[in-house]
């Protein structure tokens, strides 16, 4: 008498567990995978004159995402400049090209907006630098980082002090142009507040910021646990940078 009941209990337990697993797996709310736009160019880096931009829309896992419409605009980072005409050609369900003639060297913003097949809209901005004459990029490059991609280094804004060195920083210095980004002569952190310094180098050359030397494409990240002061030169501002960590 006891054995059949035990078997039934075991069987029902398995069925209930299986049903639970099935319902969890198939009936859960669909996960929305983030979508991003990647930008490459020819030539890379960009130079005054003709260029072709290549856009790829994919999800966070690298899978292609179908796009309904895709728009591109390019404008300089200062006022009184007209936006450039950026005609878009579709080359696949998720890839596009745009031929742009850069009229002036300096910092530009390439703005993209994609309406996806599922109705979602993805918008992003790439701060690109257009060089006056062609320069050579490190071998691994030919990929611009968008504003949203740059933000991925920030995981805890309350405790992180982030410096991003944009592409073209050295070129702007050589051209005598003052870039938008200026490294402060004093970086003040505190053990109990902003205790993590992150420096991301998106430029094509190595930069020294205070005591750190950061190669192209690298991110330096340091969390401080006690007060201290570190001083070093800065190749961007051509001055010294002090990193002061307070209690």
């Amino acid at each position: 008498m006891g054995e059949p009941i035990l078997k039934k209990v075991i069987a029902l337990t398995f069925i209930a567990a299986a049903a639970l697993a099935v319902s969890f797996f198939y009936l859960r709310k669909p996960t929305v995978v983030p979508v991003h736009v990647a930008l490459q160019s020819n030539p890379y880096p960009l130079v005054v004159g003709s260029s072709r931009l290549f856009f790829t829309v994919s999800d966070a896992n690298g899978a292609a995402v179908d796009v309904q419409t895709f728009d591109v605009s390019a404008e300089m980072n200062h006022a009184a400049m007209l936006s450039l005409y950026a005609p878009v050609t579709r080359t696949a369900a998720n890839t596009f090209t745009s031929d742009i003639i850069w009229s002036m060297y300096g910092e530009w913003y390439v703005k993209v907006q994609a309406v996806l097949a599922d109705g979602r809209t993805v918008a992003d901005t790439f701060a690109v630098y257009v060089y006056q004459i062609a320069v050579t990029a490190p071998d691994y490059e030919n990929q611009f980082r968008s504003e949203s991609q740059n933000q991925t280094v920030i995981t805890d804004p309350e405790h992180q002090y982030v410096i991003t060195i944009p592409q073209g920083t050295q070129a702007m210095q050589l051209a005598g142009m003052v870039g938008e980004m200026v490294i402060p002569e004093e970086i003040r952190l505190s053990v109990r507040g902003k205790n993590t310094l992150i420096i991301q180098n998106n430029d094509l050359v190595t930069h020294t910021v205070g005591p750190y030397t950061i190669a192209p494409g690298e991110v330096i990240r340091q969390t401080f646990t006690e007060p201290n002061t570190f001083v070093g030169v800065c190749t961007i501002g051509m001055s010294t940078v002090s990193i002061i960590i307070e209690e």
Binding site: A18, Y212, A215, Q222, T225, N228, F230
Partner: protein
């Protein structure tokens, strides 16, 4: 209940559990957020440099895979940064009590003009017999300094027996067991912070 049915349900349940999304892979210790030195990401690839060594055998980076290395660029006549740093590294080494084949402490001279292998060997032995002095008096030294982002410039000082000093980057760099540059410790970092990081890194190597 038929045992075959029981088996069927068990397999079904196992398959369903197996279908659930896998959890994220554990982060490497360098990405854990627990490090106290400056983490370099992505790790910097280094050329396979070879330097003359106080051990008597040339030191080739690729022959030391599997070992964690702390490397410093300085000079024997340095009146301040270098001896201070190596006194700290002596504390690090003693605190960890690791076998010499697991953790290497390296000193690359930026003043090969004055630092011979013999006197580098004596200098290293003054701190610890396991510490290794490295030397290169060819232009390859500058390439190596560039890879690490180390600046070293000669500064003539008149009225001095030294005749010149070397102004230089005084950071300690960590090369991981795969031969990649992973960490930078600024001059003035408490040696306990380096010990803390190595206690996390070394068990993984």
């Amino acid at each position: 209940m038929n045992p075959n049915r029981l088996f069927f349900f068990a397999v079904l349940l196992a398959a369903l559990v197996g279908c659930t999304p896998a959890s994220n892979q554990p982060k490497s210790v360098f990405e854990s957020g627990e490090m106290r030195g400056a983490v370099i990401n992505p790790p910097r690839q280094l050329s396979d440099f070879t330097l003359a060594s106080t051990t008597g055998k040339p030191f080739k980076l690729s022959e030391h895979k599997g070992q964690t290395m702390l490397i410093y660029f300085g000079y024997r006549s340095c009146p301040d940064f270098c001896p201070t740093t190596f006194a700290e590294l002596k504390h690090v080494y003693e605190s960890l009590n690791q076998p010499a084949d697991k953790l290497k402490i390296l000193f690359v001279t930026i003043d090969p003009e004055r630092d011979t292998l013999d006197n580098l060997g004596l200098y290293m032995a003054a701190f610890d017999d396991d510490f290794i002095g490295l030397r290169d008096d060819t232009p390859a030294l500058q390439s190596l300094l560039d890879e690490f982002g180390v600046v070293a410039t000669k500064r003539v000082v008149g009225e001095s027996a030294l005749s010149y000093l070397m102004d230089h980057t005084a950071s300690v760099f960590l090369i991981d067991s795969t031969g990649e540059l992973r960490m930078q410790y600024l001059y003035g970092t408490n040696y306990r912070d380096i010990v803390h990081d190595l206690q996390l890194i070394l068990p993984q190597t």
